[in-house]
Amino acid sequence: MADYHWPPAEKRSLIGKRISRIDGPWKASGRAKYSFDVNRPGMLYGKMALSPHPHAKIEAINTSVAEKMPGVRGVQLILEPGNEVMWVGQEILAIAADTEEQARDAVRAVKVTYTPLPFFAQEVEPSKAGQFTKVTGEVKAGDPDAAFKEVDVVHEGTYGIPVIAHCCLESHGLAAEWSGDNLRVWASTQGVSTIAGDLSTALGHNGINVSASKIEVITPVMGGGFGSKFQSDTWGLACAQLSKKTGKAVKMLLERDHELMVAGARPSMHAKIRVGAKKDGTLTVWDSETWGNNGTVAASPPQLPYVIIPPNRRTAYTAVLINMGPTRAWRAPNHPQLCALTLCALDDLADKLDMDPVEFLKKNLNLTNGRAQDYAAELDKAAELMDWKSKWHPRGDKTPGHIKRGVGVSLHTWGGGGGPSNCQCVIQPDGSVTVSLGTQDLGVGTRTVVTMVAAETMGLPLEGVTANIGDSKYPASGPSGGSTTVGGVSSSTRRAATNALNELLAKVAPSLNATADQLEAVGGRIQVIGDPSRSIDWKAACAKLAGTPITAMGQKQNPRDDLLSSGVGGVQMAEVSVDIETGIVKVEKMVAVQDVGLVMNLKLAESQVYGAMIMGVTYALYEEKLMDSQTGQCLNPNMEFYKLAGINDVGELVVHMMTGPGYDERGPIGIGEPPVISPGAVLSNAVANAIGTRVPELPLTPANVLAALSKV
């Protein structure tokens, strides 16, 4: 049984270093082919007719005019008459035509008759939502009522964080092409190995029997998912049906308005929160009445409070049911909302206690489920990088003028770990090495990391290994969600590469008068451990394979895998300036301190954190999916009014990864999600520190800031 472990720091030549992403040249030259870019011979373009009603019964669908329009090759009903639509933008049918313009024309010529039904599209508290609510329960621990009688200070406030969209730049969808009974799809997906099964099932329900093993999913690159691209979806099924029907390749990716209306939303969360502490800052009790919009489906009660969990607590939750496109997992599902509600309420409590919030958090780190030491170290590091002690002041910047500065702090946690993963490693007699995995690179660097792991294991330079990923024909790996990709693929790749190398060492050992376990692969050679004088060049070693390649497999172990672990913490701080005349918030500086176990590639890990902070600035300051209560329409399904932060909006960003002893031993854990959790809380807290009052609702738009100031 081979011994699998990560090399110690002094023996790592690639792992933990700053290495440029290996598919970078492909992307930066514009030659990377996304699903959106696929052009197959004779390919048709699919477009969909969408419901204009937030709730209605479909009475009749007339496609007779559309079918005769120029270029139209196929029509596929998605909803039959008699069905109900539940949100604006729900798909009714799809049409394939020779050009995109012809497909759009044909969709416009479809006549759908509806009977409108009652709907609700107002983001209001449950008492104002009438029948469109559902109480989903209460979570209770300890004795909150008794605890409130024993505390010295109680703070009560309301907080909220709105629905936002994923707004992936590459919209959802795929291109499909049948060849006999086999189907190939170029899908913009987070689950290369998993959506074939999903699509096979969906096709089967619609009379097209194709086993998952006859569906190849091809996704060499994809343009953003953030949790919204795990299924083949309504449009994926319709696209494959149209391709079958027309006998041609069909590409159907969503138009931008459709993307923003239906292809991903993060649920809102609002709360009336009461918290109590002793005079010395010890938090003992939490009580929250929460409500939120999770679309037409009720969410379960949130796990509040977040990270800092006092012994006495109660959370009640009521869902407000809104006729809005469905919600989907959004990068660190629920955590940004829970974090914003909790860390803002605790920040207000610290203010009421006249405490520096960093001191308040430190006082209560024993309530963090065993992460107290990590958080303490991270708070100290963040404070140093922010120069917190000289920048923090009691609430309200008292300096004259209309520009007020303030700082805020927050902390977060995430699980991560490793998803399922299988890797095949092949060493060819010519010395070339491939690792193949049915995983995907969403832009986080998966392709680079598996290449690094294999090369490190073989003692080869990065160029010595080719990684094959992004295709379901390779050994299955799990979907990329929950920050579990790097853990899973690193483990399976390390194991496969170790197994392959061990076979090679056994072949080579006799020529070095040694046994396989006395050998190591280092610096492009195989040598007796610690003795370069008894070595053989990598190519010469592989030549001993006598024409037969080595093929070895590696699998991420379940349930426990010694190569990785789960559970991370992180601290962020922000400094803002707020113009109290215009309400405009400017991010001056943000600091992120993050632990993530063994950092595989420092450069790409830092990129993930920078990116998460920027995405965080975006949702803290700008993003909100606006629904019109009168019509049920999404008011901003475009990128002028659904705003993303630009390069000018993000201020100075400082990232510090916690690495070295105490962190490396944990193995790779996953970095995509944790750093996106705190920005809402940290920026709201910084604004409160600057202007002297809480802006209760995100985003921190001028309107929300001025509304808060007007109440002071």
Partner: protein, 233 residues
């Protein structure tokens, strides 16, 4: 800034401003295209590329010029120094002509209405949102179109693209070609930008993954500037 109205052509004496028509001005002007596009055809001469605007008669009969479309018309686009012959309906944007007809898919369609910059190409030396230009206009004015595919031969990397790689100015990479082309147009006129100047120059491009730190470092590197600290503002 000239507004897109009938007085626009009267401002031809202000040729300096027209020649300097940058991307912002261009996009501002584009609001007027809907008039031309929503009609059955497109009025030749009623176009927005600077060359064409200057060539237009000063006094305006809005129905002047030759009507083309609504069916497909044969056009020639000058892309990366080559003549590309294709057939498009007059309503087809330069972006969709490049992507759907010429399989030049480096420029991406994201917002499709002049907001995000993912479709940025260089037209007559200026960064332009190709989703806001009609292919027939680009053809009629003989515009010199540069796309990211023309930066370097396949298999080779332009130094600016290399700088994006070196500084990790990309994640999913979908916005990256737009950033590279916007940066290229900027560097052509401002060869040695500072870190802050880059920030102003690339305000017309949006990224969802949040790659702005790497993008800024990349453009400074490509301009021969010294190393920029990680994360520095």
């Amino acid at each position: 800034m000239p507004k897109r109205d009938k007085t626009h052509e009267h401002e031809s004496e202000n040729s300096k401003e027209k020649k300097a028509l940058g991307r912002r001005a261009f996009v501002k002007l584009i609001g007027g295209t809907s008039v031309a596009v929503s009609a059955a055809g497109v009025l030749a001469g009623e176009t927005l590329l600077p060359k064409q605007a200057e060539a237009a008669p000063a006094e305006g009969n809005p129905r002047r010029g030759k009507v083309i479309g609504p069916g497909a018309v044969a056009i020639t686009l000058h892309v990366n120094g080559e003549e590309k012959k294709l057939s498009v309906e007059p309503r087809v944007t330069l972006l969709d002509a490049l992507r759907d007809r010429l399989d030049m898919t480096g420029a991406k369609r994201v917002c499709d209405r002049g907001t995000c910059g993912a479709c940025t190409v260089i037209v007559n030396g200026k960064a332009v949102y190709s989703c806001t230009v009609l292919a027939v206009d680009a053809a009629q004015s003989g515009a010199d179109i540069q796309t990211i595919e023309g930066l370097a031969p396949e298999g080779q990397l332009h130094p600016l693209s290399q700088a994006f790689v070196d500084n990790d100015g990309q994640q999913c990479g979908f916005c990256t070609p737009g950033f590279v082309m916007a940066a290229k147009a900027y560097l052509d006129g401002h060869p040695h930008p500072t870190y802050d100047e880059v920030k102003s120059a690339l305000g017309g491009n949006l990224c969802r993954c949040g790659t702005y730190m790497g993008v800024r470092r990349a453009v400074v590197q490509a301009g021969g500037g010294g190393p920029v600290p990680q994360g520095g503002a």
